[in-house]
């Protein structure tokens, strides 16, 4: 089965073609157009994102088909991101994809964006399969999931306030690194001294008890602590790298510890990190270091961790293979619940 994927939930217009053979997805093409316009605003402007998607969607889809040596006729089905995300942005890819499917009589499947992130490593890692613990960290989400099987997700924890990626972006802005700030912050942190600035590790102590926040995260207080230190700094230029390092070490320690303890308690041989923050190499390195050789940590390459249509096609292909279909009435949703998500108590 050959699936065309379309993703437009935020500020990347993406299309991809994947092939599903005996349950294994393989990547044939992925095209990602990153909108640069939002840089001058220091964040994504929804209306501008939607406008840019509308002029990009056709060329991006055509390019993905072309690079895969495919045509609309040789595609078996279409998978589109249905949510969560910016509704106006989602709408463009979803309407384009569902109309292509409806007009050409191909099956359509609406995909949950975060389920897409869960499938990303499967495109490169042939051994990647549940059960595993997933840490999904992006600009909009921070989720710790127990993936018992594909389509069966137990929510362990999530952020109580800012998403991890949001915290990286906000701190990068505080340090004058521009937007998006994840990559420049990581580069700067690599040159900073560890321990020069020690910031709080929010909710890390809760890991020891059995309280409601045992697996949850919080990044708002950490960001404020950095802000306070930046304001007190008398020589920000000299301290910028150390501050970046201090923030990154704090954020990563909490993410790594909670993920590692979850994997150990569940006794799984596999963990994955997905989402835009998974592009941070220090995060993956620290988790691998922490878990040693007992647990393998699977992380997709950066272009499959940022928002992309290949992961949407992969998750969609799995659902299509189970016989699931979306109708032409499919609509975007900013708060789509993850399908197959069990509550923490379940």
């Amino acid at each position: 089965m050959r699936v065309l994927g379309i993703e437009s939930s935020c500020d990347e217009t993406s299309a991809a073609v994947i092939r599903l053979d005996q349950g294994r997805p393989t990547l044939e093409s992925v095209v990602i157009l990153s909108q640069d316009v939002h840089k001058v605003f220091g964040g994504v402007v929804p209306e501008l994102a939607s406008r840019a998607h509308l002029t990009a969607i056709g060329p991006v889809v055509d390019r993905a088909l072309g690079e895969a040596g495919a045509t609309l006729d040789t595609i078996d089905a279409i998978a589109v991101t249905a949510g969560p995300g910016l509704v106006g942005a989602l709408l463009v890819g979803l309407m384009y994809g569902k109309t292509l499917a409806w007009a050409s009589g191909k099956p359509l499947i609406g995909v949950h964006h975060m389920e897409g992130h869960l499938f990303a490593p499967a495109l490169e890692d042939a051994e990647f399969a549940p059960p595993f613990v997933a840490l999904l960290v992006s600009g909009g989400h921070t989720l710790l999931l127990d993936v018992t099987a594909w389509g069966e997700y137990r929510l362990l924890g999530q952020t109580l306030d800012d998403a991890a990626g949001e915290a990286f972006d906000k701190v990068a802005t505080l340090l004058g690194l521009g937007y998006p700030g994840g990559a420049p912050l990581e580069r700067l942190a690599a040159t900073g001294k560890a321990g020069k600035f020690v910031f709080p590790r929010p909710l890390l102590r809760d890991l020891k008890g059995d309280g409601p926040n045992r697996w949850n995260f919080s990044f708002s207080g950490l960001k404020t602590a950095v802000l306070r230190t930046v304001r007190l700094s008398t020589d920000l230029d000299a301290e910028r790298a150390d501050l970046a390092r201090g923030f990154q070490d704090a954020a990563i320690e909490v993410l790594v510890e909670k993920t590692a303890v979850a994997v150990e308690e569940l006794g799984y041989p596999l963990a994955m990190i997905g989402g835009g923050v998974a592009c941070n190499r220090a995060l993956a390195a620290r988790l691998r270091e922490r878990l040693g050789t007992r647990v393998r940590v699977s992380v997709a390459s950066p272009r499959l961790n940022t928002d992309n249509a290949a992961m949407i096609a992969a998750a969609g292909a799995w659902r299509l293979a189970r016989g699931e279909r979306s109708g032409p009435g499919l609509e975007p949703s900013d708060s789509l619940p993850l399908p197959g998500l069990l509550s923490p108590a379940a």
């Binding site: 990602i32 640069d36 209306e47 501008l48 056709g58 390019r63 569902k98 007009a103 009435g329």
Partner: protein
């Protein structure tokens, strides 16, 4: 055979027919329902006309101004249809469709107005001489007082005039009052315009085409005011 799509207002409508001839027309109220319902509406219109999607040779779309989201719903559907079935793609302003539906005489000047929110209106002025569409004023966003001051009294005023503006329009100087006709753009009117010279425009590059939004995004307008320059063009980068 042509398909007409109009989604710029609360009413989505779809028509099937030929330029100047409507074989079927269906519509739906409620802007939030457009995205979910549009394929079904197209199916209904095709069914009522007794034709298959594959026989369509052209799409005509009301290109605005109007609801940003509504315009994108119609535009994304039209682009996908054009891409998958190789149809030609034509557009005309929703305001022209409103003006035509007011059934003016050939020499009458028709001012079509829709609510642009934030105290403004989108307005355009047309005339419909024999077999032709004449544009007297392209669709533009206006403050009501500027419209009253700068625009000569038309023969026909049509569209949906926002609350508060109707009374002020009655103060139009000169003592002459335009005939007023309430109405929204419909897909059937787009097919009628397609039969007129200059009534619709054929789009050479459907993929790169954008609707007539009527005004920039708010954040862009603010940035341009603050910086005294146009927002730099940034097509994005591919990876």
């Amino acid at each position: 055979m042509w398909l007409a799509l109009e989604t710029s207002s609360d009413r989505a409508s779809v028509a099937v027919g030929h330029p100047g001839q409507v074989l079927s027309e269906v519509s739906l109220e409620g802007a939030r329902r457009h995205a979910g319902a549009l394929p079904r509406l197209i199916d209904e219109a095709l069914g009522q006309a007794g034709v298959e999607l594959s026989v369509l040779e052209a799409v005509v779309l009301g290109d605005g101004p109007g609801s940003f989201t509504g315009l994108r719903v119609g535009a994304a559907v039209a682009k996908a249809l054009v891409r998958s079935h190789g149809m030609s793609f034509h557009t005309t302003p929703a305001l022209a469709a409103i003006a035509w539906a007011a059934a003016p005489l050939p020499e009458e000047r028709v001012l079509a107005v829709v609510n642009a929110l934030r105290g403004e209106v989108y307005a355009a002025e047309y005339r419909f001489p024999e077999g032709r569409l004449e544009v007297l004023q392209e669709p533009t966003v206006w403050l009501p007082e500027r419209l009253l001051a700068d625009c000569p009294v038309p023969d026909v005023l049509c569209g949906i005039v926002p609350e508060g503006l109707a009374e002020r329009l009655a103060e139009w100087q000169s003592g002459r009052h335009p005939r007023t006709v309430r109405g929204v753009a419909t897909a059937g009117a787009l097919l009628a315009l397609a039969a007129r010279r200059d009534g619709v425009t054929m789009v050479a590059d459907p993929a790169g085409w954008e609707p007539r939004y009527g005004r920039p995004a708010e954040a862009q307008a603010k940035w341009e005011r603050d910086h005294g320059q146009k927002l730099p063009d940034s097509p994005g980068h591919l990876s």
